[in-house]
């Protein structure tokens, strides 16, 4: 399943790429892509939406407090 989020609070494209690669390491997340300029996060996942929301927003918060994701 593909889920799309809006992701705000990222500092630079470099950080966006790093966060995306960390997110794709989460169990159940097959791939995660962040487009820094359009502020879009796209993930391929086998998880249900609520679990994915929670894991991804935790990962974002651990990366930097200011990052927020929203479906």
């Amino acid at each position: 399943m593909k889920i799309k989020y809006t992701i705000t609070g990222l500092d630079c494209p470099n950080c966006a790429a790093k966060l995306a690669s960390q997110m794709s390491l989460i169990d159940g997340i097959d791939s995660a892509k962040i487009n820094f300029l359009t502020e879009k996060l796209t993930v391929e996942t086998s998880l249900d939406e609520q679990t994915a929301d929670k894991l991804l927003s935790n990962a974002a918060k651990a990366f930097d407090k200011g990052i927020k994701i929203e479906r």
Binding site: D11, C12, P13, N14, C15, A17, K18, Q22, K33, N35, F36, L37, T38, E39, K40, A62, F63, D64
Partner: protein, 616 residues
């Protein structure tokens, strides 16, 4: 009180507070008490760099030592330790100022692109049994009746059911001349009604509208990275570690050989670290492409990715489909010759046979007669025509090739235009001539392409020799290839592609998908409704105006230029300051400029890509 606190927490607030602390610290250090000065320096450092230190610690926790925040923290703390207090604070302060500018620039370009893309209204005025009701566009079902008043944007793709008006289609097509619509016309979400009130029946839900499709194309465009973008990503992967290793060597080696003091060499190494942040590079190049994509979209040209820009910029050969691309595809019957049957029944057979076909020519033949006969079976032969069986009566409608295949002698006609032969039960029964107009701008568009450095232009057509040659002469292409089957067309295109640096193929997308996909740049024209064409093409032009092609070359060149300017400027400045730093000539201030200053300038330069150049 809370507002004051929020202000202090904001970027601007922190900058002001730390500048005040910094200034006081300098005064205290010089004239009053050196230790009080140090205390104030540390306070200024914490105000400006607190968040950066926290970020650096987080970086360490996730074992990411080459993080920008980590490098900045090391540099400023290092400078404090070697006794360069004011510089240690200055690093953080400058970094904060630079970041603020950077965020501002990023926000501005995001919002200008968003404004460009904000073409679908969120609300629609729905006509219900109880009168008008304002609802979310997303909730409107297909087949609902909506009302659009002067000055409003059409919220959903729909067909006008009442009223007439002039509409401005520029946000969708880049065309500034308004078009008139009346009952039966299709209007797309994003059109602006200039005068008159329209009632219209919706034909698509909001998220499937043409405008929504454009948006998602633009948003996803960045996934197809250009060579320039990939270059920069790969580069930064090597660049930062190399600079860090050099910095360590610079710190250790000179003191070992007794050339410099440890303090001096550490200071040099720290400036190195600050310069080494790759963010300026990583941000500015994609930003240029993003701007280019947005700017082109405002002209009705969609680039499907950064990688398309470089191919369009160096296009050398351009091949056109003829029908519907160079000509406007409005066929009309210009002459009917009958042999042994009356005109009425000939046309009735033709119209009934063609009702099974999707070929553009079929459209006008379908309407040739109102008396339709039901066929039992029909087979379409690509590039030849169609054969239908009317309970025993076999009617073949197609070109001369189809006739020779079924053993009918296709005699020539003296009338100009495309010939459609009709054979009923294997006897030639009629010749219908059909003509199509060349688009008025075709000739000048091809001339402009040539002026932009396109070396060879072709028409690849399945049509007859004299028709293709006539059109080719009119518009001035170098080479006209005619009577090609779809397979031959593809093979010819392949040969052209092999012989040139970059080849553009322009088709209307109806049966061109393989060629669109094969060309370096496949351009689908005026076919936003055609999913297969959009899928296969690299570039989509929303109108069928050929002058968009030279315009796209200009836009692509400008965008590529800007991205290279950024690469060269950022790399040049950084390496210059790195070399100065190596000889101890660059201080922290210069180093911070090399990082954030360069990033801000590169972003501002990228914004120029948003303004698409116009062809004169």
């Amino acid at each position: 009180m809370k507002r004051l606190f929020d202000f202090i927490k904001s970027e601007i607030g922190r900058i002001i507070l730390s500048i005040v602390l910094f200034a006081t610290a300098i005064v205290f250090e010089r004239f009053i008490n050196i230790y009080a000065g140090l205390g104030l320096y540390i306070a200024a450092l914490l105000v400006s760099g607190g968040a950066v230190f926290v970020g650096a610690v987080r970086g360490i926790l996730r074992r990411d030592l080459l993080d920008e925040k980590f490098l900045m923290s090391i540099a400023s703390i290092g400078a404090m330790i070697v006794g360069e207090w004011s510089e240690g604070v200055a690093v953080m302060l400058f970094f904060l100022v630079g970041e603020t500018f950077e965020h501002f620039a990023v926000r501005r370009s995001r919002s200008s692109i968003r404004a460009l893309m904000d073409i679908c209204p969120d609300e629609a005025c729905l006509l219900t049994d109880n009168g008008e009701e304002i609802v979310d566009s997303e909730d409107v079902e297909v087949g609902s009746i909506i009302v659009i008043r002067p000055g409003e944007r059409v919220p959903l793709d729909s067909i006008v059911t009442l009223g007439s008006a002039d509409v401005d289609t520029s946000s969708m097509t880049g065309e500034s001349i308004p078009i008139s619509v009346s009952v039966g016309s299709e209007v797309s979400a994003g059109y602006i009604v200039k005068n008159g009130v329209l009632q219209a029946k919706t034909i698509r839900i909001a998220e499937e509208s043409a405008a929504a499709r454009i948006l998602s194309l633009v948003e996803n465009a960045n996934e197809n990275k250009s060579r320039e973008e990939s270059f920069i990503t790969k580069f930064s992967r090597f660049y930062t570690p190399i600079v860090v290793i050099i910095a360590i060597l610079v710190a250790i080696l000179p003191p070992i050989f007794g050339l410099r003091t440890l303090n001096d060499s550490i200071y040099t190494a720290l400036t190195f670290l600050v310069i080494s942040c790759p963010c300026a590079l990583v941000i500015s190049v994609p930003m240029a492409f993003f701007g280019g994509i947005g700017g082109a979209a405002s002209r009705g040209i969609l680039f499907k990715g950064g990688n398309v820009f470089s191919k369009v910029a160096k296009v050398e050969s351009v091949a056109f489909d003829k029908t519907g691309t160079i000509t406007n595809g409005n066929f009309a019957i210009s002459n009917v010759e009958c042999f042994g049957v009356d005109k009425e029944s000939l046309l009735s057979y033709v119209a009934s046979t063609e009702s099974a076909s999707n070929h553009p020519i079929a459209e006008c033949l379908k309407n040739a007669s109102k008396t339709k006969i039901t066929y039992n079976s029909a087979t379409e032969r690509p590039g030849e025509g169609i054969i239908a069986d009317f309970s025993g009566t076999i009617c073949a409608v197609g070109n001369a090739r189809l006739m020779s295949e079924i053993g009918v002698d296709a005699i020539d006609s003296k009338n100009a235009g495309a010939r459609v032969y009709v054979a009923i039960n294997n006897t030639l029964s009629g010749i219908i001539t059909i003509s199509d107009e060349v688009k008025p701008e075709a000739g000048s568009a091809i001339q402009k392409l040539r002026a932009l450095g396109v070396k060879r232009t072709y028409i690849l057509s399945g049509d007859r020799e004299e028709n293709v040659k006539l059109v080719a002469e009119k518009v001035g292409v170098d080479k006209a290839e005619f009577a090609l089957t779809p397979e031959q067309k593809y093979e010819r295109l392949e040969e052209i592609i092999k012989s040139s640096r970059s080849t553009m193929y322009i088709g209307d997308g109806i049966n061109d998908s393989p060629s669109l996909a094969r060309a370096d740049v496949g351009v689908a024209m005026g076919s936003l409704g055609q999913d297969s064409a959009i899928e296969a093409a690299d570039m989509v032009v929303m109108t069928d105006n050929l002058s968009k092609l030279p315009e796209s070359v200009l836009i692509a060149r400008k965008t590529i230029n800007i991205s290279w300017q950024n690469i060269i400027f950022a790399l040049g400045t950084k390496s210059l300051i790195l070399i100065l730093g190596l000889f101890g000539l660059a201080n922290m201030w210069l180093a911070v400029f090399a990082d954030v200053g360069v990033a801000v300038l590169a972003i501002l330069n990228s914004m120029r890509a948003l303004r698409a150049p116009k062809m004169k």
